[in-house]
């Protein structure tokens, strides 16, 4: 008899992957944005020939380098963990998912790491223009790298361009352009990289503000804050725009995630968007309550954002669980055109798909082509519910609602704060009063941790919000794992946490020291 999977494997694998991803995402956003900020600064240096710009460029480049190293270190773990912790996933969708990772390596990562070496070591070895090109190529490489990873992630949220092959027991790519240009992938890429630019801009604004407060390195501060605030304002507006389009794709492709983001249990036509709300911790599925202790909402806005129609019906968690409503979102089967299935019905169909796969393979093994044909017909019909067949309860399709709801609100609220901050900084820079606005300068400094918080919350919304799916509707996390014992993962989880914490602490102490001594490296007035 085949032993059962250890139930802790999925939870600990998730914990390990989450901790790796969260640490990784502490370093990557800064790399994505700072690469371009540094490139802009160096462009000005090359154009003007002003050596102060070179000093300023090199100062921020040093901080970039410290951050880059640890981003690289944590990035490789994520790639390997798809195999070590999610081996079943790696086979089930490896035919599609592996391609973006390989393309990232060939097309982007080599570009980034080759020219990052030239950028750091080439100052006195190559011409100015080649050096400048290397700096830009480093930034382009880093952002291309993000593109491919986010295409891969977007595909997990909305699998497109593939077909399940029962002979190989995996999904196989049918159209790479559908994978790359899936609306989820594009919105995710734009929203995520722009949030990285905002992170870098806030970092530069915050550090520069600290110099103003301490009356040190004023030229470096003045020049850096101007570039960062303009770069940040443009980027944060793009984040808002792409956030809006991301909300639309979530509504269309992942309605349960949207319901969790909105703490929406019972939907109705013309749903409002909750601006501020308190989740009711005593809320139980089916108790008839709306899930809020208090809420302040803008009428019809959720329907407008999610469906581009103020009267659209936005299904809530209980609607999606019980089914029966007329769905207006895209991610439905033909059979659900008039009435969405309940989760129970989906589980039933998922189990039929899994049984059909079994039947198909047994029929093929026994050379019974008629039976194989019939089994494949059932499998094709119900494959879009395949992952539901692994679920053991209807409520397992509901993510952690308060975590997703509050994370989303806090992220959006912080996003608006960043826009206001950039506008204020630019206004007072323009009116030459910024150096005296100590309150604003301190706010800028303290916004640095907030931008990291917002960035992490974005991933919490994206990843916790799509639970229990590793691939939307097709594979839950419990069926995606490797066959290893929980103890092994617990040990590596602890080892990773210790290692990451140590490296993060080292990263912060080194950065703080470099910032305090910024003048030694350049940017003196």
């Amino acid at each position: 008899m085949i032993p059962l999977l250890d139930p802790g494997v999925a939870d600990w694998s998730r914990a390990q992957f989450a901790v790796t991803a969260m640490f990784h995402w502490l370093f990557v956003p800064l790399t994505l944005g700072l690469a371009f900020i540094v490139a802009i600064m160096e462009t000005i240096y090359v154009k003007t020939g002003d050596p102060e710009w070179k000093k300023i460029t090199r100062f921020w480049m040093t901080l970039f380098g410290i951050n880059f190293a640890i981003g690289v270190a944590t990035g490789i773990i994520l790639e390997f963990e798809f195999g070590t912790n999610w081996s079943n996933y790696s086979w089930f969708v490896g035919d599609i998912f592996g391609a973006p990772l390989a393309i990232e390596g060939i097309m982007a990562f080599f570009l980034e790491t080759t020219f990052v070496a030239v950028m750091f070591f080439g100052w006195n070895k190559i011409g100015k223009r080649f050096h400048l090109a290397s700096t830009w190529l480093t930034g382009i490489g880093a952002n291309l790298s993000a593109l491919w990873i986010l295409v891969a992630n977007g595909w997990m949220q909305y699998p497109a361009g593939m077909r399940f092959n029962p002979d190989t027991a995996r999904n196989e790519m049918q159209n790479i352009w559908e994978v790359i240009f899936s609306p989820v992938a594009i919105h995710k890429f734009l929203h995520t990289v722009c949030s990285g630019y905002v992170t870098a801009a806030i970092f530069v604004v915050g550090v520069s503000s600290w110099y103003f407060l301490k009356k040190r390195h004023l030229l470096l501060a003045k020049r850096s804050i101007l570039i960062a605030a303009i770069f940040g304002l443009v980027s944060s507006l793009l984040v808002a725009i792409t956030g809006d389009s991301s909300a639309y794709t979530v509504a269309q492709k992942q309605p349960m995630k949207l319901a969790a983001m909105e703490n929406l249990y019972q939907g109705h036509k013309g749903n409002g968007l909750v601006v501020i709300g308190l989740h009711d911790p005593n809320k139980k599925i089916g108790d008839g309550k709306d899930g809020f202790l208090f809420k302040l909402e803008i009428p019809r806005l959720l329907s407008t954002m999610g469906y581009h129609n103020g009267d659209a019906f936005v299904p809530g968690i209980e609607d999606l669980k019980n089914g029966g409503f007329k769905p207006e979102y895209e991610n439905i089967s033909l059979e659900e055109k008039d009435a969405a299935f309940s989760v129970d019905e989906k589980i039933q169909r998922g189990r039929m798909a899994i049984s059909a796969l079994y039947e198909y393979r047994m029929a093929k093994k026994n050379g019974d082509s008629a039976r194989a044909y019939e089994a494949q017909r059932v499998l094709d019909r119900y494959f879009m519910f395949f992952g539901y067949g692994y679920l053991t309860s209807t409520e397992s399709v509901i993510p952690n609602v308060p975590l997703v709801f509050y994370s989303f609100r806090l992220m959006v609220g912080l996003g608006f704060w960043f826009i206001i901050l950039f506008i204020l900084v630019l206004y007072f820079l323009y009116s030459k009063k910024l150096e005296n606005k100590r309150g604003l300068l301190w706010l800028s400094v303290w916004t640095i941790p907030l931008v990291y918080l917002a960035s992490q919350l974005g991933w919490v919304v994206a990843e916790v919000g799509r639970q229990p799916w590793v691939i939307q509707d097709l594979l839950p996390v419990t069926a995606a794992v490797s066959k290893i014992d929980t103890t092994s993962i617990q040990i590596t989880f602890v080892l990773f946490v210790i290692l990451f914490t140590g490296l993060l602490t080292a990263n912060i102490t080194i950065m703080l020291h470099q910032i305090k001594n910024g003048a030694k490296d350049g940017g003196n007035e």
């Binding site: 040093t62 640890i70 798809f82 081996s87 390989a102 390596g105 060939i106 790491t113 079994y358």
Partner: protein
């Protein structure tokens, strides 16, 4: 262009790409080998600084090649990725740890307030250099010696235990380290990396002491390298191998399988011999004339390493051979036919592979730009330079 190729041709093409990446990775492990020589060859702070900086300008290439090797393997042979990474868990986690600590060590080592102190980061580099090479070498050896796993795609229909690839060894890959042949290839890679590291120092650092000590290290490392490598190769060509019947896909044990592979694929044999001779020339020429050939050894040993490893990978996968054999269930063994991606994906990826020459060209250009002048103590003391 690639659409018209047969499935077998695409699979062969991708095995060649994987082999190329694997061989480049082993060559670039001169960085790892060099790291284990920091204190052996560098006796003063300045000497150690020059060694670390000459390696520090190249560590990203090794790292990126490892990442690309992993990504390309995932994309082209996902069943290997799924089986090996998910099964030999502890080996891959250990390799990961080795590379994580390397990535930060160069940048953090000489920075003030680096929390752990300069010496700790140097020890990290040594751990990466020693353990990283041995583990990668031993992992590659399992391509010839086999691993303990089973594969059953029907498992996907068992909702309580749907994992297709299941490892049978409780040690999750660490058991491979107890096989002396795996250990021998691991140690071969370790000593080869040290040889390449020493040759690279002779090529890229303008310091007489480092040059002379590196020269001395060639001998000390050449002897164990040759012992382990020859022992491995002799047992390999005399051992039974995992043969595949091309029509039925049935795997069976075949006497002298890898010797047969060499004989049936003379091009591979020639590449292998050329590679070995080139490595030996790279090591030997500096002994003939130290001042004339000392800095040129890497130009022989480097390409020689690439050719040797490339041919070993080809031998592992071609000529109807299971490249990732299972000793638990012979029929679960992975071949380039039963573990690859689909025709569509291999085709799409093949177009991407056309970028490889472009990548190699700009790496070459960037490498030359940085290496056109040897590292010396003056450069290390120049405040204008970015120094680790």
């Amino acid at each position: 262009m690639f659409e018209t190729l047969s499935m077998n041709a695409l699979q062969d093409y991708w095995w060649i790409i994987i082999s190329l990446l694997g061989s480049l990775l082993v060559f670039l492990m001169f960085v790892q080998g060099g790291q284990t020589l920091i204190f052996t060859i560098g006796k003063t702070d300045m000497e150690q600084k020059m060694i670390i900086n000459t390696l520090g300008r190249k560590w990203e290439f090794t790292f990126t090649t490892l990442v690309t090797f992993g990504g390309a393997f995932f994309a082209s042979f996902p069943l290997f990725y799924s089986t090996s990474f998910g099964g030999a868990y502890w080996v891959w986690i250990a390799i990961l740890f080795c590379f994580i600590i390397q990535a930060v060590s160069y940048e953090y080592r000489s920075k003030p307030q680096n929390l752990l102190g300069k010496r700790t980061y140097e020890i990290f580099l040594i751990i990466n250099g020693a353990l990283g090479t041995i583990l990668v070498g031993a992992a590659v050896s399992t391509f010839f010696t086999g691993s303990q796993f089973t594969i059953d795609k029907l498992n996907l229909t068992n909702t309580l235990n749907p994992v297709i690839s299941q490892w049978q060894g409780a040690a999750h890959g660490l058991e491979a380290m107890l096989n002396w042949r795996n250990a021998a290839l691991g140690l071969s890679v370790f000593f080869l990396a040290r040889l390449l590291g020493a040759l690279y120092f002779m090529n890229s650092i303008a310091d007489e002491n480092i040059f002379n000590r590196s020269h001395k290290q060639l001998l000390y490392n050449a002897i164990p390298f040759l012992v382990f490598f020859l022992a491995y190769m002799i047992t390999l060509i005399l051992s039974k191998g995992f043969a595949v019947d091309p029509s039925s896909g049935i795997v069976s044990m075949e006497d002298y399988k890898y010797l047969h592979n060499f004989l049936n694929m003379p091009v591979v044999l020639i590449l292998f011999l050329l590679g070995v001779v080139s490595v030996l020339l790279g090591i030997g020429l500096p002994f003939l004339n130290k001042s004339r050939y000392g800095s040129k050894g890497i130009w022989f040993a480097g390409p020689g390493t690439i050719l040797t490893v490339f041919s070993l990978f080809l031998m592992a996968g071609f000529n109807n051979t299971a490249f990732y054999p299972s000793t638990s269930d012979l029929q679960s063994s992975l071949t380039i036919r039963n573990s690859s991606s689909s025709h569509y994906t291999l085709t799409a990826m093949s177009y991407v592979s056309l970028l490889v020459p472009v990548v190699l060209a700009y790496i070459w250009y960037a490498w030359r730009s940085i290496n056109k002048k040897k590292i010396d103590s003056i450069e290390m003391e120049n405040k204008e330079e970015h120094v680790y």
